[in-house]
């Protein structure tokens, strides 16, 4: 009897974790896309992002160190094991480019040059696929990249390392636009780093 009861508790716990995680994944998918590739240009794709990067950002937002009015209600009170499960799930999904329309040749060229000059590849890796706590930029949404780079430059995105603010210090809006155009159309590398 006792043994049976313990099994029941274990099974309930197991299924509540699975069901609960599925619900959370659904919630993420509402905005970030069912496969983690965002249909909304202002919302980032999270598929294939490095696991540590997703974990770190969810913690920073939960602790209100990275300000996000949209995300805070979602992650408020979220426990670490669930953050780790979500990060694991989305980091394993394949990423794909979501921008439509033909790339602008001049912007592509300018963006590639600026990415080279700013040495983005040293931390974000040479294919812009990201690593560890450093995000994938390739195939990220263009409007999101542009908005976040401007926020870093203008001291409005804070909470983590100051390297992005320093890297983008004094970079013009036009250069940021070119970088965002180029990176959003760079081929998405394979996930699971």
């Amino acid at each position: 009897m006792l043994r049976k009861g313990r099994w029941a508790i274990l099974l309930t716990a197991f299924f509540s974790v699975v069901v609960f995680s599925q619900e959370r994944i659904q919630l993420c998918a509402t905005c970030h896309g069912p496969d983690g590739n965002s249909p909304d240009p202002k919302i980032p794709s999270i598929a294939g992002q490095p696991k540590l990067f997703i974990e770190t950002q969810l913690v920073l937002i939960r602790e209100e160190l990275r300000k996000s009015e949209l995300m805070l209600p979602v992650v408020r009170g979220m426990k670490d094991p669930e953050i780790i499960r979500l990060a694991d799930h989305f980091s394993k999904l394949p990423s794909r480019g979501m921008e439509s329309g033909n790339p602008d040749a001049a912007l592509m060229k300018a963006g590639a040059e600026r990415a080279q000059a700013l040495r983005c590849g040293i931390c974000h890796t040479s294919d812009f696929g990201g690593q560890k706590q450093v995000p994938r930029l390739a195939a990220q949404r263009e409007a999101y990249l542009e908005a976040e780079m401007r926020a870093y430059r203008d001291g409005k995105r804070t909470g983590g390392d100051t390297i992005m603010a320093a890297t983008l210090y004094g970079v013009s809006d036009a250069d940021i636009r070119a970088l965002a155009h180029f990176l959003s159309r760079s081929k998405a590398p394979a996930p699971a780093r």
């Binding site: 320093a166 210090y169 004094g170």
Partner: protein, 409 residues
């Protein structure tokens, strides 16, 4: 703005194709990177911001001298580093950097419970206890929790205005401690890898009365000290100090320093380690009047906490020796540190050291590490706590004299 080393920086980072109207100041940890290393992928290691379950910590990999044993004493404190302990040893307060929290670990005998005392602070790395009150130092804030060990819901007293904290953040996360004179010792690091500090408030150690009055600068030329203690007999202060980066794999070594008298200058930014003049920030007679380290602790090793051992549990040979934690390098092709060393003082005022706790890496030549040791603290029973900033755990190191009959090997 800061008088940074514009020449080397501009050479390394100038981006001629960009329409920037002013040169970008690189992140503080990047400053001083020479053109030859512009493509270097070396960067500070990523911290872990989520809880690591005790079952995922390979504590059996930790190697200690015969008779010593390590166990996981507490876990679930992401980013936990410096520790301050209540008088009865039942509560341990633990500071952090990026995650912005101070934890309270309560010893319940067979297990420990963890709660967050305060969060959303900017790198509250400094914690100290005096007369039952907890002092918390963030980069831009000082809070005092009166009688916290007895009343957990105590509201903090904001003491920030008393301490005259400068505005730059880099290297201004803190280690703080009360000295045998009852004063509160607080370091103010250089806000860069290498630079002429923007004002006289940086690269120094100060002491204050417990209420923040009586500010006194007691050491200058200190780049980034995040660990100190006082010799149990001489009462002299000993402190660790991180050497500069981007000066090569075998660049100026980290230091263990002795403060024989207040007012000593330890050389930064002109003179490093055992009398090495800085290659970029130059001054005539760069090392003149500079107090040399008592021991060189390895290039880029990241010297953190240091404590004199005065307990009765460890063998007598450890009495009044120092345990010094080296969190481990990043700015070096081959790793250095990732251990706890035991430091002994010679008759000549110099110190020598040998490894005490090792095994945080999977192979000595690889950056594949599972832990990054940060601070040690002696408990009332003579056991030693060791915090691990990577796993967010605290290990307890104890000693049991091997019984001759039970001796194996």
């Amino acid at each position: 703005m800061m008088k940074l080393i514009a020449v080397a920086v501009a050479a390394a980072f100038a981006a001629p194709a960009l329409s920037q109207d002013k040169p970008a100041p690189p992140p503080a940890w990047h400053q001083g990177k020479p053109p030859a290393q512009a493509e270097s992928k070396l960067a500070p290691h990523a911290g872990k911001m989520t809880e690591t379950p005790a079952s995922e910590i390979p504590i059996d990999k930790l190697k200690l001298p015969a008779g010593f044993k390590a166990e996981i004493w507490a876990s679930g404190l992401p980013g936990g580093r410096a520790m301050a302990v209540s008088e009865d040893g039942k509560k341990v307060y633990v500071g952090t950097r990026i995650i912005g929290r101070v934890y309270e670990v309560t010893d319940e005998g067979s297990k420990r419970s963890v709660r967050v005392v305060v969060d959303k602070l900017t790198q509250p790395a400094g914690v100290a206890m005096k007369d039952g009150n907890l002092y918390v130092f963030a980069i831009d804030k000082v809070l005092r929790f009166d009688g916290i060990a007895k009343s957990s819901d105590v509201k903090p007293v904001d003491m920030t205005a008393k301490f005259d904290l400068p505005k730059e953040q880099h290297h201004n996360w803190k280690y703080v401690a009360f000295g045998p004179d009852g004063k509160l010792y607080v370091p103010f690091g250089a806000p860069c890898n290498i630079c002429e500090p923007p004002s006289k408030e940086y690269a120094q150690i100060r002491r204050y009365n417990a209420d923040g009055s009586g500010k006194e600068v007691i050491a200058t030329g200190v780049r980034n000290s995040v660990g100190f203690d006082w010799h149990p007999k001489t009462k002299e202060m000993w402190f660790t100090d991180h050497g500069r980066d981007w000066a090569g794999d075998d660049g100026p070594q980290d230091e263990l320093n002795r403060l024989a008298k207040p007012g000593n200058n330890y050389g930064f930014p002109y003179c490093h380690a055992n009398g090495i003049a800085d290659p970029e920030i130059k001054k005539q007679d760069a090392c003149k009047g500079v107090t040399r380290p008592a021991a060189l602790m390895g290039s880029h090793a990241a010297v953190m906490g240091v404590k004199f051992y005065t307990g009765k549990m460890f063998p007598a040979e450890y009495q009044n020796t120092m345990f010094l934690v080296r969190k481990g390098s990043w700015n070096r092709t081959k790793p250095n540190g990732f251990d706890v060393v035991n430091v002994r003082l010679g008759q000549d005022g110099k110190a020598t050291y040998k490894p005490f706790a090792t095994g945080f890496q999977q192979g000595a030549d690889t950056y594949n590490f599972w832990g990054r040791p940060a601070y040690v603290h002696q408990m009332p029973d003579g056991a030693m706590l060791l915090s691990d900033e990577q796993t967010g755990a605290i290990y307890r190191i104890s000693y049991q004299r091997p019984k001759a009959a039970a001796k194996k090997q």
